[in-house]
Amino acid sequence: MDLSVWATVVGVVVLLLAAWTAWTLARLRRLEGRVDRARTALETQLRRRAALADEVARSGAAVLEPERTARLARAASGARLPWTPDREQAENVLGRELRELLRDLPGMPPALAADLAGTAQRVVLARRFYNDAVRDTRELRGRRLSRVLRLHGRRPLPRYFDIDDSYDELAGTAGSGRS
């Protein structure tokens, strides 16, 4: 084969690679935006849950033993940590406290109980969507070619957010089609 054929082949390969790279970079950037938005949504719901827990701790001070109120307030303040495994731990503690509270305190004002249940449901949704975005990103970044070309630049690999957010026992979920 002569040189011009080789040059053409190399040219075509380089072009294809460039097109693929541009396309993948666009996908990665879009995914980054999705992860950011999903994280904001999750953070919003988690903070709302913490604020509600604070409210319960304050309003329930008369009925609850002081030690329990303090524990709840402490758990709620844990929800202000940055996104690390400590934060997941703190959210788990808060979730457990809230679940136990709803079981032990049936006389909670209905509006507050409904708020808590609604927020718990939204935490489940937001976390599912966030982890979904993370999974898509990690999958694309895990491809060999995107790894070799380091298409992600200096962006850190997004982490999954793993907490126990089951809330079935505290909200009536008849017909929820739970998995």
Partner: protein, 404 residues
């Protein structure tokens, strides 16, 4: 909230997804939201004049075991773009985005908060295995995925990547819960009745199994009757019924919506002997809402609706002896029937559109960020084919890389 819903199947053809979109849109409107629908149709003039936009005609292609509406090309893309621009939606909700239809087109064009619902039609998913990776770059734009059943969710996880929250199909419970019974067939009048509804000449609906079971049932309850409703070939059915069963089988034929509800309110037991292939047991929810005690085959979708046997009796699929025993026991036990009926009505309430639409709304609210801006249409057709001009993040990222 301004909501845009995309239905990829022809609006003027009967179909589960179409009804789902119609009822969801109506319910959301009732909750005070502005809802627009974009859909293909066979006859554009048949579309409602308000809130439904014609997306073009479609070419039916076989997809995933049923017929999908193939619709692609610049004219459809232009229509979708105009709909997105004029709608100024806070969120766009695409139904069944996987087939190459207007749903996928909208995914390619729209930017912003997008929700998608996956309705699974059948188990045949070989095509999806090949097609899934192709459309993945566009499915990645979906911010919140919904599956209508665990089965649909599994299909989505296996073939299209990503996870989904399960929100079941909705039913308007009230028209089934209250109303008259079928004249002459009222519950408690005459002998006990067993109801079957569906295309009775399709073997997968399981009528042959039920007919076989009926021999034993009739031995225990000589006055029992089987009422068969639905479409099919009446002569074929008559030929399939053994002579000794003929006085016990009554063919009602196809029923209107109102008659269907009356039928479900009239029967002493509703039986769903299906052998396979139901991804969602909407008929079971309707029967529950009508207060009919249910005996059903143990398909995953049915087991989910019947809460693993808590609100209905499940029997092994295709097992005529077990089905006969379950039917016979239930017909002999009025207390158990009353108990199942009460529990069923309670369970059906969770599927009422008012409940289901609120759960869908919670998904919208999770995906739409306050102040995050709504859905926009990307500017040029290039985006559909490759990368659009304002979408080359590559440039700055590359420059950064080059500088390093």
């Amino acid at each position: 909230m301004r909501i845009g819903i995309v239905c990829p199947y022809r609006w003027d053809r009967p179909g589960g997804v179409q009804y789902h979109v119609r009822d969801l849109a109506e319910t959301l409107r009732g909750l005070g939201h502005h809802v627009e629908v974009l859909t293909p149709a066979e006859h554009p003039e048949s579309l409602p004049t308000e809130h439904v936009t014609f997306a073009g005609r479609t070419v039916p292609i076989p997809y995933n075991g049923s017929m999908a509406s193939f619709q692609f090309g610049p004219i459809s893309a232009a229509r979708a773009r105009r709909w997105l621009r004029e709608g100024r939606f806070d969120v766009v909700h695409v139904h069944d985005p996987a087939p190459p239809s207007v749903g996928l087109l909208v995914l390619m064009i729209a930017k912003g908060p997008i929700v998608a619902t996956f309705h699974a039609a059948s188990v045949r998913s070989k095509l999806l295995t090949v097609w899934g990776p192709v459309i993945r770059p566009w499915l990645e734009r979906i911010g919140g995925r919904i599956a209508v059943s665990d089965f649909a969710r599994r299909l989505q996880v296996e073939h299209l990547g990503g996870d989904a929250v399960v929100i079941p199909n909705g039913v308007h419970v009230a028209p089934f819960a209250e109303g008259p019974q079928l004249p002459g067939l009222e519950r408690g009048s005459g002998g006990p009745t067993i109801g079957f509804l569906g295309r009775y000449d399709e073997p997968r609906k399981g009528l042959p199994v039920l007919l076989e079971a009926m021999r034993d049932v009739v031995r225990r309850h000589p006055a029992a009757r089987l009422l068969v409703a639905g479409r099919g070939d009446p002569d074929g059915l008559r030929a399939a019924v053994p002579p000794e069963l003929r006085p016990h089988v009554e063919l009602l034929g196809e029923l209107s919506e109102a008659d269907k509800a009356a039928f479900l309110r009239s029967v002493d037991v509703y039986c769903a002997p299906n052998l396979l292939g139901e991804s969602f047991g909407i008929i079971l929810i309707e029967a529950l809402a009508a207060g009919a005690p249910i005996v059903a085959a143990d398909l995953d979708a049915f087991a989910a609706v019947l809460e693993d046997g808590a609100v209905g009796v499940l029997v092994r699929r295709g097992d005529a002896a077990a089905l006969a025993a379950a039917l016979g026991d239930l017909l002999a036990d009025p207390d158990r029937r009353a108990e199942l009926s009460a529990r069923g009505r309670e369970a059906a309430r969770g599927y009422d559109w008012s409940v289901v639409a609120r759960r869908v709304l919670a998904v919208y609210e999770t995906v739409v960020l306050p102040g995050g801006g709504g859905v926009t249409a990307s500017d040029d057709d290039a985006d559909v084919l490759s990368v659009s001009v304002d979408d080359v993040p590559g440039r700055s990222a590359l420059r950064r890389r080059v500088r390093r």
